[in-house]
Symmetry: C2
Subunit: 429 residues, 2 copies
């Protein structure tokens, strides 16, 4: 069961929008035991879409297409698919009812442009889109160009499925979860894929690779190991495929024991995609509360934690102390500390962490202060100089980081990950 | 000048990592007047990479490949390209010096695994990677499989260029800016592409499309219009291509006057990718300072502003007031207000905005409080209920939002955009 994802949109090809749809769809398919072989992005151009669809129809069991279904003039996917499958556009009762319902809910008048959203190729099956007006269309037919080719080649290809989804991320996601994946699981026999993540920090990718080489070479054949360096940490991913031909599941906990023996000191946690997720899980489980005092990370630590449902169970809140006045008035950093050591200093980081912990009444605190760049450095404190402090009721630990680069977002992201690692060490010590 | 981007990595195909490389590269190429026709993602599989490279070499003027250049076993790009171009691996002096230099800077011992990073196909030109140990390789040769095919077809194809870059985002970005784009501009004659963004809020995509249809139909042929709905706002993008065949530049300011006449009330700003960028630009230019008090947005407003270099010029700081205690102790929200109206109420939002503005000594303030979901709603205040307040020295404006969905990130992102729009209205009123 091999899937090709095609995402359509000029905005993706000029880099205005990051293609999160591809990764969201890939993650959902992977979790459902389906393998994505390729993802392709093309613009709102008839020839490019046609060619991408045609190549994918010959190379995959399933083709998922997003985008180009809106009511505006740059949206051409529907007409093109209609032609590709040799069909004609007809008004779908299901789709029209859906459009009417959504407009009634919003209290809007139905315009001809919106009514046209209910037009679909006659040969497709409409999968109802409860959360939007664009139709989701399932094609599993032998007609038009596709049928002629199939007849000409007689190559016994499986019935390739093509599904066209809207490109609006939340509509796509709802449709994948509620319509497309269940129907794909019914249609194809899917294999089981097990992914296992191990988060490491404090060792570069190549050193880690050298260190664990004997362990890696001894892994069973059905397991693949990947190294994913992300903002200062390296995530190891084990992918294990259980197929009807290779039905045996290897003993992953036992395999991991071997890894811990060699590299345990660098392992921060397991089974999470990010360190924010690991902190979220750990603090929720242990019933510990947290407060944050962020200068150079500017709210990124707080936003990564609160992006996760249930953060209110442990996250009291935080202060984004961007100016020195705020460090004094909202966190209680001493004026004399700032005068004597500067905002980017161990002393300030410690007072920020201790101050926010006490003022917000939390068990734990994280504080960051530094120069994220690209400008603002001095000779003594160049861009990339960052102090992090973590505190509990009895201890405050501080650490100096010196990032070599001037890239603001990179320095922020690395600081956030290092801060989460330090907090984890404080918590599990 | 048509570019295909190929990003290699299993982590992209299982959805663990969002492919930001494709959008970063596309943005940089577009700004340099080069057109991306297609982007493709394939896994760390020999056959898939080979096929994607081969298809792209026949369809594009330039093929940019990222990924699979690290020192670990899942990295196979270099060997594959060596074979594709019929070359052999040799140790590059330039690349070896670079690896040695970077290891010396970091104070690490050079291992055999790292030394192997200096091996490159003999037929390529190494573009020096100042910021990492993986080599950047420029192929513009007629040899191996590629040469045989070119000789067989005699179709006078231009000399297709292939460049292999590391997949680590900051290395890729540095190489694109400092090595690849300058060399592509030397090699090809590039056309000029003008993009113009207009940010709108308060009108859905289809209504906007209906409203501006007469204007859209009258646009010159060299201009394409796209609708990009993002978290509650719709960005309009005009793309204008100036080529040697069509060298005339349309009068874009005059065209926009027509748009303002029809839809001016919905236009929040121009020439920015995001509302955060518009706020950043406007407050910097006007010398106004800002403080934030965030509950349901959890620091996202602060982090979007501070992600931009120079935010300290106007951003004083903020409070992430996740718990009621923090709303009281750090923002001065009255206990009686929280008792009488609850945390998610107009009164609380107003007191949060006014409190943070005064306490942090800013000209302006934004406050958010709501139920982002997926859980935590009540009958009176269901998930998606959000209050936003914006304040200056004399006015406080508050607005109730009722998002229909339960998706946490979506509700957060829409709240952030609505808050930025309200602030812009307060500032430019």
């Amino acid at each position: 069961m091999n899937v090709t994802i095609i995402n359509i949109g000029d905005e993706l090809l000029i880099g205005q929008v990051v293609n999160t749809n591809a990764s969201t769809m890939a993650r959902m398919l992977t979790e459902a035991g389906m393998e994505v072989g390729k993802t392709v992005v093309v613009g709102d151009s008839r020839d490019d879409i046609w060619q991408a669809v045609d190549v994918a129809m010959h190379a995959s069991d399933t083709v998922l297409v997003t985008g180009g279904l809106g009511p505006t003039k740059d949206d051409i996917t529907k007409k093109l698919l209609c032609e590709y499958f040799g069909s004609e556009l007809v008004e779908s009762e299901v789709a029209l009812e859906n459009v009417k319902r959504l407009f009634a809910v919003r209290g809007f008048e139905l315009t001809p442009v919106n009514r046209a959203q209910a037009l679909v190729p006659k040969c497709c099956e409409v999968l109802n889109n409860d959360v939007g007006t664009a139709p989701c269309m399932w094609f599993q037919v032998e007609s038009g160009k596709w049928k002629e080719e199939r007849e000409a080649t007689q190559d016994g290809l499986p019935h390739t499925v093509l599904v066209s989804l809207p490109g609006v991320p939340h509509e796509m996601e709802w449709l994948m979860a509620n319509r497309v994946i269940p129907k794909l699981q019914e249609t194809f026999q899917t294999e089981t894929i097990i992914n296992k993540n191990i988060l490491t920090q404090g060792i570069g990718e190549s050193f880690l690779s050298d260190l664990i080489e004997p362990w890696e070479l001894a892994l069973p054949k059905c397991i693949r190991l990947a190294y994913l360096p992300v903002a200062g940490m390296t995530k190891l991913r084990l992918t294990c495929r259980i197929t009807p031909d290779n039905p045996e599941t290897p003993d992953i906990p036992e395999l991991l024991q071997g890894l811990y023996k060699i590299a345990g000191q660098y392992i921060v946690g397991e089974d999470c995609e990010t360190l924010a997720e690991l902190v979220h899980k750990t603090l929720s489980e242990r019933g510990l509360t947290l407060a944050t005092a962020e200068s150079c990370t500017g709210g990124t630590i707080a936003s990564q934690l609160t992006a996760q449902a249930g953060a209110s169970a442990y996250f009291k809140g935080g202060v984004v102390a961007y100016s020195n006045e705020v460090k004094e008035c909202a966190l209680g950093v001493h004026h004399s500390t700032l005068e004597a050591h500067g905002a980017v200093s161990e002393e300030t980081a410690r007072e920020m962490a201790e101050g926010v912990r006490k003022r917000l009444g939390a068990d734990l605190a994280i504080a960051t202060t530094g120069i994220a760049g690209p400008d603002g450095g001095t000779k003594e404190k160049p861009v990339g100089t960052v102090w992090i402090a973590v505190a509990d009721a009895t201890h405050t630990e501080a650490q100096l980081l010196s990032f070599p680069g001037r890239r603001r977002q990179q320095n922020i992201d690395r600081t956030v990950n290092q801060a989460f690692s330090m907090l984890m060490k404080l918590v599990v010590k």
